[in-house]
Symmetry: C2
Subunit: 396 residues, 2 copies
């Protein structure tokens, strides 16, 4: 599959090919449009001017001046590598295809203007969750963005399983975004020409009431983003797609309606992942819009000698130290999926065994959190901090 | 779809037709083979003999005598309705098709010899989980058996969502069974003729190492049971299927290997469901094999004013009264999926909100459990006992 997509002012061809023996895809990214001529960055121009005036001034000095100016922000980055001190772009793998909600999250997490020091992020689609993890492990990506939960449908447990299987991968950020299901159609087709609406079953289930009112045929497809591309490429005038805003942008479709979902409070939670101890090309984790709010979280996974019986005791370790447990999850303990318990009245009972995953409010380096984690490690069969990171909520 | 299946000595045709407006299927069950002639039951014969000898003895007396005899078990039930005092069979809906693991669980939960008072259960396949719930609500089934969890892959959350949406449906039993993935093929085809193995992705993932050793092509299919039927009906000699033992039995396939899965400790957990306050044709919940062990559980679902922040407090209500919390789950709170919290340092934060589901050791009528549930209801936004029931573990 060859997918064409734009990353800011540069345009790339992305070619995915399946390596069947490994059962995952690798990516080759090829720049197909020459970069714009150099010297286009305001900072570079200012540096040139300073040099002509005989001033000893560096890019870093200029950036500081820009920041200190009233209402000053660092200037937007230009597209050529030279403008970023030769820095390579951050490569962000995301789970999903072009036009997917996860691409939208990756673009939100790594916006073009997030840091003037860095060229626009290179957003890399991965058809499977495993691919995004493999891209991190292989060094093909610096960051990955994967879906973690939908507030109406529940968690996507696969990423927790993969985090447990990839001990080098850790959570470096969390992003909570409102879902915006858009009703998309061909730009110039009359609305009266519509005969059907297609989308992924999850999106359809989110828009059931609104769809009923349309009195159109409703069909489920495996990928809303692929359906949007198909409608655009084949100029299909009688079919609308429930898809993301980024799908409209990517494929040139018209947004007939924004926020087409039935329920308020429909949010997606995404995790940003990275390799432990490696920042790759990431200068700093992005600070998102001023409208977004951040809080600090730590996620810890552990197993317990006596399974669920000891979960309350484990939670007590945190709660008794004033560390709030903000989430309690469990996944199968694949190394020992079932424990057999001898019960006086009932004989031998099979109990499923788990790896428990707690989200805690606070940084792993906070005194209370640190002390509680140390105590947990004393009673746990195994314990691993999956990440200590900032959670960013975008409420609108 | 017309599915032919056998329920003990009687044979039924099951016709499923889709009512498209309701988007779920209804079932018509038609007996197509006449019942065997009456008087075949040993109990009935004994009653006849007693009557001829002028003894005033009832079927109940005879059953007691059978039970008291050394090594005595009640005699197996005969197939005619007359032998069961005209009782209709228990109708058990299960999620899955003919030959599925859930059919195996339903057959295990309602074995032909479970109660001599009752004719063999009528096992009704349902292609969707929703259908099994609808069958209970409509009165088309007395009981439903649905998958709840696999010890290696984790829970099937959909049944919890459906339980929350169907307040009349409750859990009446739980069944933990070891998974037995069988390698199935045509009975007389030589093993050397095999070129490929097909199954559902989950079964394939459970048998990955064993499959690798076979050096055969591996293909994923949507339903292992349907694949087994296809192989049998079309006499396909070059394809093996990883499927259930009941699929071998249903479609006349040979079991090349039992327990083909890689990991020990691969178990399935099923829930038996019924309508609250209604037993339908069920005389008593079945007592399974003597090898199986039972313990009592209560499942309660509730929401909390302050969400996860109060979960520890809710668990404390039980733990402080000596009631062990044996499972902690949560599902989206669809009536209020997200709460916005004001945090001093971080502004407004979006927190996902949940309905929490706890499994407790003990009966809802046990003094401690009852007191704890009463206390929980005082602090919970809503609270509902989803069931108080026996959990049966079959360890081998």
């Amino acid at each position: 599959m060859v997918a064409l997509f734009k990353a800011s002012s540069a345009c790339y061809i992305q070619s995915q090919h399946t390596t069947s023996t490994k059962r995952r895809r690798t990516h080759d990214v090829v720049r197909i449009r020459p970069p714009p001529p150099p010297r286009s960055s305001p900072l570079r121009i200012a540096e040139d001017m300073a040099s002509k005036l005989g001033l000893e001034i560096t890019i870093a000095d200029l950036e500081r001046l820009f920041r200190q100016a009233p209402g000053g922000h660092p200037p937007p980055p230009a597209a050529d590598a030279g403008d970023h001190g030769g820095r390579p772009p951050v490569r962000v793998a995301y789970q999903g295809g072009r036009g997917s909600y996860c691409q939208e999250a990756a673009a939100k997490a790594f916006p073009p203007s997030s840091s003037w020091q860095q060229p626009p992020a290179l957003i890399i689609p991965c058809s499977e969750m495993e691919e995004a993890f493999a891209a991190l492990e292989d060094g093909a990506a610096d960051r990955a963005v994967v879906p973690a939960e939908n507030s109406v449908d529940g968690p996507v447990p696969r990423n927790l399983d993969l985090l447990l299987r990839h001990p080098r991968v850790c959570i470096v950020g969390e992003l909570v975004l409102p879902v915006n299901h858009c009703l998309l159609s061909l730009p110039h087709a009359p609305r009266s020409a519509l005969r059907r609406v297609v989308s992924h079953p999850q999106a359809i289930s989110h828009c059931r009431d609104r769809l009923r009112a349309l009195h159109l045929q409703v069909e489920e497809v495996a990928s809303a983003a692929d359906a949007a591309r198909f409608v655009a490429e084949n100029r299909i005038a009688d079919t609308a797609v429930i898809g993301s805003q980024i799908a409209a942008h990517e494929f040139g479709l018209r947004v007939l309606e924004n926020n087409f979902q039935d329920l308020a409070g429909n949010f997606n939670r995404f995790l940003q992942l990275g390799l432990a101890g490696s920042t790759g090309a990431v200068v700093s984790e992005p600070n998102l819009d001023d409208n977004d709010n951040n809080n600090h979280k730590t996620t810890v996974a552990f197993s317990l000698e006596r399974g669920v019986s000891d979960l309350f005791r484990a939670m007590w370790i945190f709660e008794s130290r004033g560390v709030r447990v903000a989430r309690v999850d469990h996944r199968p303990n694949r190394s020992k999926p079932v424990r057999v318990e001898e019960r006086e009245e009932a004989g031998e009972i099979a109990r499923f065994d788990y790896v428990f995953v707690l989200d805690l409010d606070g940084n792993a380096s906070d005194t209370n959190v640190e002390a509680a984690l140390a105590r947990l490690k004393e009673i746990a069969g195994f314990a691993r901090v999956l990440g200590s990171y900032t959670c960013t909520s975008s409420l609108a």
